[in-house]
């Protein structure tokens, strides 16, 4: 599989043409939205929050954060950081609500301590492992990124970074850098071993308990696939229930059943039930 970061630095790869192509692809919109939902459920923010989006691109995740209904703890305010001015340009065209910063996450995160309730990064962190000049190293860039991220989150805050590690070694390097910055860390892998495998690095800043979200706390990094485990157990555990994304189709179906049992009239389920709102352009 060809990896774009092997060929060009991110600000050149995501030029105007690529930024538009990326953002208007319905396949990409769909996948990025699913992953944002997954990240949000792992962040478990109870009420409208201030969120940092690292490598926010054209704001696909941000659109979702801004339109998250109150019943799911939203809408959130967000600040996006990205190294590609073309991607940010598309975000402007899309009229996103978040504030946008042109910046390199490998240079650090320029916010005062305790700024954010939570942070997310979708499909961006693998880019930090590539270095463009002899003055810097991947390890140095990751260290500055995670140190900055750690400092700008509130105590008890979480960060979820979905990324595409090249291999096991790179996955461990990224997770290890987060742990060295002080995070409690766990790795969650969805659909492991399939074409659509997704890796989520779940991080917490002191005080935040992420047992039950992912195992492998306090410096140890472990891998597991919760969803498969839950399936193997054959019934919905308390943990999975807690994990069910509010507003997701499964969640709505469960609510509907509950309401029906109470004798309330509910709208018949259609194929549109619980569908993600389409992203408007």
């Amino acid at each position: 599989m060809s990896r774009p970061e092997d060929h060009l630095p991110p600000d050149l790869y995501y030029n105007d043409t690529e930024a538009h192509k990326y953002t208007t692809s319905s396949r990409i919109q769909h996948i990025q939205t699913l992953m944002t939902h997954r990240a949000l459920s792992l962040l478990a923010l109870p009420s409208p929050s201030l969120i940092l989006d690292i490598g926010c691109g054209s704001g696909l995740s941000g659109t979702l954060l801004s339109s998250l209904p109150a019943s799911s703890g939203g809408p959130h305010q967000w600040i996006g950081l990205d190294i590609s001015s073309s991607m940010l340009g598309v975000a402007l065209e899309r009229d996103v609500e978040g504030d946008l910063f042109l910046g390199d996450a490998g240079q650090g995160i320029p916010f005062r301590p305790g700024t954010f309730d939570g942070a997310l990064s979708i499909s961006a962190v693998q880019w930090l492992c590539n270095v463009e000049s002899s003055e810097e190293s991947a390890a140095g860039r990751l260290a500055r990124f995670f140190a900055g991220l750690f400092a700008c989150l509130r105590r008890g805050g979480r960060a979820v970074c979905q990324f595409y590690p090249r291999d096991r070694g790179q996955r461990e390097m990224v997770a290890g850098a987060a742990v060295r910055a002080g995070f409690g860390a766990g790795l969650l892998i969805d659909d492991e071993g399939t074409k659509s495998e997704k890796t989520y690095l779940v991080l917490s800043v002191g005080g935040g308990d992420i047992t039950g979200v992912v195992s492998g706390l306090e410096g140890e990094v472990e891998v597991e696939d919760q969803r498969r485990r839950a399936k193997e157990r054959g019934k919905m555990s308390g943990r999975e229930k807690a994990e069910m994304v509010k507003g997701s189709k499964a969640w709505i179906m469960r609510k509907k059943q509950q309401m029906e049992r109470k004798g309330k009239v509910v709208k018949p389920t259609s194929k549109y039930t619980g569908r993600k709102r389409r992203i408007q352009f």
Binding site: L50, S71, R112
Partner: protein, 157 residues
């Protein structure tokens, strides 16, 4: 860039991180724009204790905006006092998706004047173009169409 964001951003240079003068960044040649958005009382309640009030006052003064009170409002100031007449009759009935409807939740639906003013300053007042200057190192960060450029040349990281 919202004034809310300006209340949290610092100079990106490592050598400035610990210097008090590196926050807040000072707007220069700023072109302001009001971008209206829906008031979210719960967000205001959440963010208020994290706002650096004196920094916000300084920035407002530098931008020529009306002077903010000396003392930062507290979370209670964001909620309409419950004794206010007319409150009962105004409450929406038949809201199917009502959320519990606790006292606090109810009050949150009626933002006070303070909440509206804060919303205006923090979330609707934006810097569309201009510069942000670090008080410690003097570095200028350009803001164009609301996007702040925080890329540093490698010798400055």
């Amino acid at each position: 860039m919202k004034l809310l964001t300006l209340n949290f951003v610092t100079c990106a240079r490592k050598s400035c991180k610990t210097l008090p003068a590196a926050f807040p960044l000072h707007p220069r040649d700023a072109e302001l724009e009001i971008v209206e958005m829906e008031l979210n009382p719960k967000f205001l309640v959440n963010i208020l204790p994290r706002v650096e009030w004196q920094a916000l006052r300084t920035v407002c003064q530098e931008l020529g905006l009306p002077t903010l009170p000396d003392i930062m409002p507290v979370q209670q100031d964001l909620l309409q006092p419950p004794s206010l007449p007319g409150r009962e009759s105004e409450s929406q009935e038949g809201e199917a998706e009502g959320e519990g409807g606790s006292e606090e939740e109810d009050a949150l639906q009626k933002p006070s004047q303070t909440a509206q003013d804060l919303h205006r300053v923090l979330l609707e007042t934006t810097i569309a173009n201009g510069k942000l200057v670090c008080g410690a190192c003097g570095h200028e960060y350009a803001v164009k169409e609301g996007i702040a450029n925080f890329l540093l040349p490698s010798h400055m990281v």
